[in-house]
């Protein structure tokens, strides 16, 4: 009885963990049709995997313990028999199980328009991988409906969004477990993915292909919003940067433009036109910094400016320890009003 309760508790905990909570990245708590159909398939193979493993362990234990031999004797060298084990257990049953899985796999493959060539696609978003952050281009029409942001993708709820994937340097992989499986970002290649979220919310992803020192801190955030909120966000992102109004922010802006920052970062509507680092035009509207490694708040922004190499060793962002006191405070104030 106690044993059963313990087992039930363990199983319950495991299931709860798999089903996942809000911060989950579980592949078994899908939030969109693609991940949904995969998770159904995944559950069924995982269950078969566990059940057959269990049966085989029992069979092995039974076979090994039901009789006892001795080294002194052995069966005649020419004894036969036992072939039916191989024909039934080795061929027939696995053939049926594997055929079923192959059919399921092939049929479900049709519902993923990921890999069906370039011509059919009209991507709304282009994601470009960088060591170690994500450049996000919204490809609206006409051209004045286009803008660039970083690390945080907003999508409208309830309809598929066609995303084009490529990379500026090494191979990365686009992976938001609750929405879709991995699709690689490969130099010189364009891959496509249809992402759809059924409910509003934040869905965390992470680079799925080893890409160097900070592979561990190359996170991605997909924010699914109702269509109206999404359109508002879109319109807001199209705007050039907000003009600083306070004295601190004005001073902070001078600090930014006077230092090396503007060589790498872009802030639309200012003279900062760097293109090797994340676009900061609306940095204050994003939830996190450093490819979603740290929450976007004053302390983290200050730490990131002065000690990026401690927070994310190897990243392109240098330690700008020369900033301190008023300069640092005002610089961060400037960034924080870039809503």
């Amino acid at each position: 009885m106690i044993r059963r309760i313990t087992l039930a508790t363990v199983a319950g905990t495991a299931l709860a963990a798999l089903a996942g909570c809000a911060t989950s990245r579980s592949t078994l708590s899908p939030a969109g049709p693609a991940a949904g159909s995969i998770s159904w398939l995944e559950w069924s193979v995982l269950i078969v995997f566990l059940v057959i493993s269990f049966i085989m362990w029992l069979l092995l234990l039974w076979a090994a313990t039901r009789k006892r031999g001795s080294l002194a004797t052995h069966e005649p060298w020419n004894i036969g028999g036992g072939q039916s084990w191989i024909l039934i257990g080795g061929f027939a049953i696995p053939f049926l199980v594997l055929s079923a899985f192959f059919l399921l796999s092939t049929v479900s493959l049709k519902s993923f328009p990921v890999h069906d060539g370039d011509s059919m696609h009209h991507p709304e978003i282009r994601v470009i991988g960088h060591q170690w952050w994500w450049e996000i281009q919204y490809l609206g029409h006409p051209e004045d409906r286009q803008f660039t942001t970083a690390n945080e993708i907003h999508i409208p709820v309830g309809r598929p969004v066609d995303i084009e994937l490529t990379t500026a340097d090494v191979i990365h992989s686009f992976w938001v477990p609750r929405l879709h499986g991995k699709v690689d970002l490969i130099p010189g290649t364009r891959n496509y993915i249809h992402v759809q979220a059924n409910a509003p919310g934040n869905y965390t992803g992470q680079c799925g292909e080893y890409c160097g020192e900070q592979h561990a801190h190359m996170l991605l955030l997909v924010v699914a919003q109702p269509e109206k909120d999404y359109q508002e966000w879109y319109a807001q992102q199209l705007n050039p940067a907000a003009m600083p109004t306070t004295a601190e922010a004005l001073h902070g802006r001078d600090v930014f433009m006077g230092a090396a920052c503007s060589l790498c970062h872009q802030i639309r509507g200012t003279e900062a036109h760097g293109f090797v680092a994340p676009d900061l035009t609306h940095i204050a509207s994003r939830q996190n910094i450093a490819a979603n490694s740290y929450a976007n708040n004053t302390a983290n922004l200050e730490a990131w400016v002065t000690h990026a190499q401690s927070l994310k060793p190897g990243a392109e962002m240098p330690n700008l320890a020369a900033f301190n006191g008023t300069d640092l405070r005002d610089l961060v104030a400037f960034l924080q009003q870039l809503k």
Partner: protein, 625 residues
């Protein structure tokens, strides 16, 4: 008469126990022990690297290792275990056992055998120079371009990766050719291809696979090194190359390689399970054919490593189907073993424990492999800890477990001393429990979305306690391995005397002394069945002394299908030339790593000179042939 004959054979075959003798021996038994010993050292090093990684990952947000150090360690762990432990340890058992199992006096090419050992050792040393320069490879054992090209990996690390691997492929290819010729040409009279021990089927199969698969790796390494230091652009998209070419080449080699480090282990199990079930294996032809088919179909599954790169559904489905097909050949073998145990009379020795443990882990690893063959599921679990779990169930389960079964089974033959059974079983249970604690939870973490190859992870994702559990499991596993090592060293002095055939086993290696004399058996045996020591035929029956061959270093050469005697083969004497040539090769590849042209030229000239001496025709040796 017999004593005098033995004395004469001993004088012909024995290597003097001097320094020169040590460096110049071509005795397959001595070389094999070096292979096994060296591979165990690499297992130890790779194990330490694994434990360091597990400490770093035990808790979230740890900073015991920096990212670059962590990347170097996981790369070195993978390379060490896959290239310098898993395959060489099986070569070691093969070099020891194949000649004894077929009743030959040595491998077909004893000097090549010495040469491949030395190059294996030197390639490992070359690889392990790199961490002492602080520049170990950091691109993973799979080394995907363009990350491993100079712009993203400017140090020497990936150059060491290339040169050490190319040197190793020379060694491995030479070894494979040696196995092929030995097994096809030196079998005892009467051991037709249908009477070969199953271990020979697996060794023969993987040797052929090696010869056809390994060039893809060599080519990939050469292309990458040319790209890195010699201004070519094979993988450079911006200059017309293609990064995916690396993946195709690497996995065209890489997946057959999985079977190279797996099949010989199944061959060992096919020897051990019947002996401890006290009956011949059930379905010998099925196992033999499955082994060969695994090797063949193994060439058609490599793309399942690349399901996420973006390719057509038809292509992916083909490789998914092939991957599922190949699992049937393994399942056939599993059921042959289970049926053998079921129909037989199991004797649960430590070796049998490890064999059973192997089957248990292989079932889990094989089935989790089927999970990843379902393409959409693979998109989710690929590059997560689910795959880390899968690879360790099949590589630790299907390589290390059989290796330990083989150590407990065959070490008494090699040392003449039995290992302690009680200590062995304790070691087994600790290893088995530790292994499952360390690796089973990885399935769950993978499904929960934890990617591989990350040096740390955030708190609050619910991964922390599972990781801690796995770290504890890893240390338990390491402790279990340590007990077996202690058991081994203890047995050398304190172990019971083994005698010729302590397990009352059925194959020819057990008809020799333990440890075997340098020449093997006095009379080259003859064979009439698959179980020479269990049938009524007397293998060494040779009243006229026709198969003593005590005129010179000689052995019998036979036809490849029916093993009918063809000729006498003259075997070479001990020589230091293989070592000298291996030193030349080492010099070439060290110099290549650093592009020192003059050293390369010098080492090439030196190597050509040594090879010329080695291959110079020696007329006096021709007389006997």
């Amino acid at each position: 008469m017999s004593a005098a004959v033995q004395q004469r054979l001993l004088e012909l075959w024995e290597t003097p126990k001097t320094l020169h003798g040590l460096l110049s021996t071509v005795d397959h038994k001595q070389i094999a022990k070096r292979y096994i010993g060296t591979a165990m050292v690499f297992l130890f090093i790779g194990g330490i690297e694994a434990l360091i990684m597990r400490i770093q990952l035990a808790r979230p947000d740890q900073n015991i290792l920096g990212p670059e150090t962590y990347d170097q360690i996981f790369t070195m762990h993978g390379m060490t275990m896959i290239f310098w432990y898993a395959s060489p340890i099986l070569s070691g058992f093969g070099v020891y056992l194949v000649p004894l199992m077929i009743g030959s006096r040595d491998m077909a090419f004893p000097r090549l055998n010495a040469f491949t050992y030395w190059t294996y050792l030197f390639s490992g040393i070359l690889l392990y120079i790199s961490p002492f320069l602080g520049q170990a490879p950091h691109g993973g054992w799979f080394a995907y371009t363009p990350y491993t090209s100079v712009p993203y990996s400017p140090g020497w690390g990936m150059d060491f990766y290339n040169t050490a691997l190319i040197l190793l492929t020379i060694s491995t290819t030479g070894g494979a050719i040696n196995f092929i010729v030995t097994i096809l040409r030196l079998r005892a009279p009467g051991m037709s291809i249908s009477k070969m021990p199953l271990f020979l089927y697996s060794t023969l199969t993987v040797s052929f696979v090696t010869v056809f698969a390994l060039p893809a790796l060599t080519v990939a390494n050469i292309f990458l090194e040319l790209d890195r230091r010699w201004a070519t652009h094979f993988f450079d998209f911006a200059r017309g190359g293609t990064p995916l070419l690396w993946q195709q080449l690497f996995w065209f080699f890489g997946h057959p390689w999985v079977y190279i480090i797996f099949l010989p282990a199944t061959g060992m199990i096919s020897m051990i399970v019947p002996v401890f079930s006290r009956r011949p294996i059930v379905g010998y032809p099925y196992v033999a054919v499955s082994t060969v088919l695994t090797g063949l179909v193994g060439f058609g599954v490599w793309v399942h490593h690349m399901f996420a790169v973006g390719m057509g559904g038809l292509a992916m489905s083909f490789f998914s189907a092939a991957s599922m097909t190949i699992s049937i050949f393994t399942i056939v073998q599993i059921f042959a073993w289970v049926a053998t145990i079921w129909k037989g009379w199991p004797v649960l020795t430590t070796s049998m424990y490890f064999a059973l443990g192997f089957i248990a882990l292989l079932v889990v690893g094989g089935l989790s492999g089927v999970v990843t063959a379902v393409i959409p599921v693979d998109w989710q679990v690929t590059d997560t800890y689910f795959v880390v779990s899968h690879i360790h169930y099949v590589l630790v389960g299907a390589n290390m477990m059989p290796v330990f079964a083989a150590l407990y089974y065959w070490l008494p033959k090699m040392t003449g001393r039995m290992l302690d059974e009680k200590l062995g079983k304790i070691s087994f249970w600790i290893m088995f429990i530790g292994f499952n604690l360390a690796f089973f939870p990885m399935h769950i973490l993978g499904v929960l979305g934890m990617p591989r190859r990350i040096y740390t992870y955030k708190a609050g994702l619910g991964w922390g306690s599972t990781n801690m559990l796995m770290t504890v499991g890893a240390f338990i596993l390491a402790f279990g391995i340590l007990i077996s090592l202690i058991n081994f060293f203890r047995s050398l002095k304190l172990g019971a005397i083994a005698g010729k055939n302590p397990w009352n086993a059925d194959t020819l290696e057990w008809s020799t002394e333990s440890p075997p004399e340098p020449y093997g058996s006095v009379h080259i045996p003859t064979v009439i069945s698959r179980h020479p020591l269990w049938d009524e035929h007397e293998e060494e029956e040779d009243p006229n002394g026709e198969r003593v061959l005590d005129q010179d270093r000689l052995t019998l050469s036979s036809s490849w299908l029916d093993a009918e005697v063809l000729a006498l083969a003259r075997m070479p004497n001990d020589t230091i030339l293989p070592l000298l040539l291996a030193i030349g090769f080492m010099a070439i590849f060290v110099a290549l790593t650093f592009q020192s042209m003059w050293v390369i030229v010098g080492a090439l000239v030196y190597s050509f000179a040594i090879a010329a001496v080695w291959f110079w025709p020696k007329p006096e040796e021709g007389e006997l042939a």
